[in-house]
């Protein structure tokens, strides 16, 4: 045995002094990372800190300018993803790379075909291995199930299975819990721990502090392309990590103060709407939001929240029910009408709805008001007013940009969302509808946006806040409605709500099969 016999264990993976420069920025500045066999190693950092670049280097998608990668102590060069996979390095992306219409087995076999002979796949052998792998790591799965019919949590397990099927030794998970309920998160953590005890090394990328504390064996924090600290979960806490990550003290929970609810502003009764495929998505929702209060809607993504919000805001035609705004029926009004009626909307998908990435920041800041004075007189646009407004918004909303003329798509996610917030918040509002307002943002931006929302509430705006991030709903809301299967299944007080209770409601709808039946019959 040539193995060193001391206390030093050869790391399964070591990245030494990785530097990656892009024009104008150093994305990784001498980052070193060491992952031991059987370790869950969390990589913590804000968006844009360089986590993704580092993992792209590891996966062969980016070539480092300096530094080296060692696998089991031996320096290697990774030419591309297939090379990385061949060496047992696998990545589970935030956005699953699965084909929904194919079965679990077919998805796993894609690109890693187990052949019976030169022509035909050996499905039987593949099935056997998939079932066996699942059993070994504590989740049995039907290889014939269509991936599209699986819940998000199970789809993620398929991604992990895919990696295991390819004999992954080092598994990189990029923000794996972003789409999961608390219960699903627990389950996936159990899977990860099991994988680790079997000797797999796991790199867990996240910016959620409590998760990192819960699941990781070691935590490496990076900021602005550099490693700023390494911690063991036992010797740190959320405040310490947040400060490391952001570089200053951060208030993790916004002091929401006391709300002074006034008259009802938004009233939704019996609302029903279909999703893009024509299936019922909202099945009879009643809700009321009063001036100066925040109604949070908790729910696992895909339970009709997006359709509910779109129906309220005029992007989707409700099939039944009414929406009234301060007593006026606005059911089926256009987005422009709603905008004119002092309703603002921050959409869940800022890339698809909130921004036009190829347009300048200034143009994006007037995307919903471009036709109004002072930004336009008749059909003539007023470039000076647009520019002046942009400069002021950039300052007041702390949008970090070289200039208002740069394309919005070049800004970081946090600054893009700040631009949306600046645009939508910067006037007197009756109703503010927020759909996932902080998804994918770093703690600094989240803190900023939450403060803005509270300020709006205190100015007397009715706020409807939809979020799949349960913590966000719990922290922000005065009242919480839980959405499940297209209905609001419970409304609880925001100050006394219990996380586990709400989580359970999100996952099950809070009812046994029988109890849901009468509602079904009524609709």
């Amino acid at each position: 045995m040539t193995e060193p016999t001391g206390t030093e264990i050869t790391p399964a993976l070591e990245m030494r002094g990785i530097t990656k420069r892009y024009p104008g920025v150093v994305a990784n500045d001498g980052i070193s990372l060491e992952v031991r066999p059987g370790e869950i190693h969390a990589l913590l950092g804000e968006n844009g800190a360089g986590k993704t670049t580092l993992m792209n280097v590891l996966y062969g998608l980016a070539r480092p300018d300096e530094g080296e990668i060692l696998l089991d102590g031996k320096p290697i060069r990774i030419a591309g993803p297939s090379d990385a996979i061949a060496r047992g390095i696998n990545m589970v992306h935030q956005h699953f790379m699965l084909v929904p219409v194919l079965s679990v087995a077919d998805n796993i076999l894609l690109g890693e075909e187990t052949m019976a002979n030169r022509i035909f796949l050996d499905r039987k052998e593949a099935h056997r291995r998939i079932v066996e792998l699942g059993r070994r790591f504590g989740f049995e799965i039907d290889p014939e199930a269509k991936v599209g019919s699986l819940s998000v949590g199970w789809q993620q397990r398929v991604e992990i299975l895919k990696a295991l099927y390819r004999n992954a030794r080092i598994l990189v998970l990029d923000e794996p819990t972003a789409v999961l309920t608390p219960q699903e998160t627990e389950e996936i953590f159990a899977v990860l721990r099991r994988l680790a005890t079997e000797g797999h090394s796991i790199v867990f990328i996240s910016h959620k502090l409590y998760e990192v504390l819960e699941v990781a064996d070691r935590i490496t924090v990076i900021r602005r392309g550099r490693v700023v600290g390494q911690r063991l979960p036992s010797e740190t806490n959320e405040d310490d990590l947040a400060e490391l990550m952001v570089g200053r003290e951060v208030q993790l929970t916004v002091d929401r103060g006391i709300s002074h609810p006034g008259a009802p502003v938004l009233r939704v009764t019996g609302l029903e709407a279909k999703d893009d495929r024509g299936h019922p998505a909202v099945r009879g929702v009643d809700l009321e939001v009063r001036a100066g209060e925040i109604l949070g809607i908790a729910g696992v993504a895909g339970n009709g929240q997006d359709e509910l919000v779109e129906s309220i805001i005029g992007l989707r035609h409700p099939t039944a029910g009414t929406v009234t705004l301060a007593g006026t029926d606005v059911t089926g009004h256009s987005p422009r009408d709603m905008n004119e009626a002092a309703v603002a909307y921050v959409p869940a998908d800022r890339h698809r709805f909130g921004l036009i990435k190829s347009f300048s920041l200034a143009d994006n800041l007037v995307l919903t008001s471009y036709y109004r004075p002072p930004y336009a007189h008749g059909v003539l646009r007023n470039g000076d007013a647009i520019q002046k407004d942009a400069i002021s918004a950039v300052e007041r909303f702390d949008i970090r940009t070289p200039s208002p003329t740069v394309a919005a798509g070049t800004l970081s996610g946090g600054n893009q969302q700040k631009a949306v917030v600046a645009r939508e918040f910067d006037r007197d509002l009756k109703l503010l509808v927020l759909d996932q307002p902080t998804r994918g943002l770093d703690v600094g931006s989240i803190e900023f946006i939450h403060r803005q929302v509270i300020a709006k509430r205190d100015a007397g705006t009715a706020v409807l806040l939809v979020s799949a991030e349960l913590d966000e709903v719990l922290e922000m809301s005065d009242r919480i409605g839980v959405m499940f299967g297209g209905r609001i299944v419970a409304v609880v007080d925001g100050r006394t709500a219990d996380k586990n209770e709400v989580g359970l409601l999100m996952a099950t709808g809070g009812t046994e099969r029988g109890a849901a039946a009468p509602v079904e019959a009524a609709s």
């Binding site: 420069r21 920025v25 392309g225 471009y370 003539l380 970090r400 070289p402």
Partner: protein, 389 residues
Amino acid sequence: MTASAAPGSAPSRPSASLGARAWSVVAVPLVVTVLSVLLGALIMLFSELLVPGKKFDWGLPLAAYSALVNGAVGGPDAIVSTLVYSTPLVFGGLAVGFGFKAGLFNIGAQGQFLVGALGAVMAGVALANAPAAIAIPLAVLAGIVAGGIWGFIPGFLKAVSGAHEVVSTIMMNYIAVQLLAALVSGPLKVPRSPSPVTFDVGNAAFPIILAPNGHLGILLAVLAALFVWWLLYRTTWGFEVRSVGANRDAARYAGMRPKLITVATMTFCGALAGLAGTSVLLGVTHTMTSSFGTTVGFDSIAVALLARSNPLVIVPAALLFGGMRAGAGLMQIQAQIPVELVDVLQATILLFLVASPVLRRLLRVSGRDAGSVVTGATVSSLGSGGVAI
């Protein structure tokens, strides 16, 4: 890559000099054109080998190109001729380029061109004896309206049923060709004429503003380019068009009405292409034969791509293609190179443009590519076509 900014500083580029910015705009079109010219030279040399018994002449491409250039810009008459050839290409390039800006691929410029000319000839013949001050505006208007209708139909179909404009405009091209043939050899034909030809447009013909044959349309084309630029970048309407083209969902979210904008845009594109046909008819031919119908509509696509849909760049791009057309005759006479070489040059320019991502990487210039404009527009509209609500 010497600049290594402090880590985490906002990703800002050193403010590029004006020269560098201009280079990033013209680099690809310029290199593409040079490559095409070189390839054309190779083709000419190769074609010499196919003629048996002829002495091989290394200087042939040079002779051909100098004749081409001579025919395009060698003297006042040649320059005016280039302007005349370029005029419909400016209108057509705008018709295609404006569509690209709204995310629409208007392959139907050819049909709109023909129908526009048809509208102009019908009005022009009817008003042939009216005072020019009345006849010309009305004939132009007829051309605009006719082309506009030809653009409106696919736009409307797309808005109500999601029918993809690439498919429907191609269909509309066929209908236009047959409609023209039927009308010119039928109701519009000069009675007892041996060949199918219409009456002359008489007083509706464009006056000559540049001797010997530079007609009013030249001026109109320049004005149209300025107008389209102003419309796109200085008005809320243009902002809506560009928004719908860049991100249809965001446009809808922002309270715009993408369907309405699609219909309006296609109608406007049709009107511009109709003006292209009108300018040829009232400015050059004055009558219509059943063989009216050049490749203007298709050349316009190349012009729009070369100019990356920028209305002001469309003018020089049209001049390049128009100049090649204008000089082709002299090239054939002096160097015995058939005029079709110009088509080959245009085609290779297009091919190189599609490959422009590669060129950009080689030239180290950033920016959007003509190829991605097309594929982006088609793919996105193909995608949305299927699920249009």
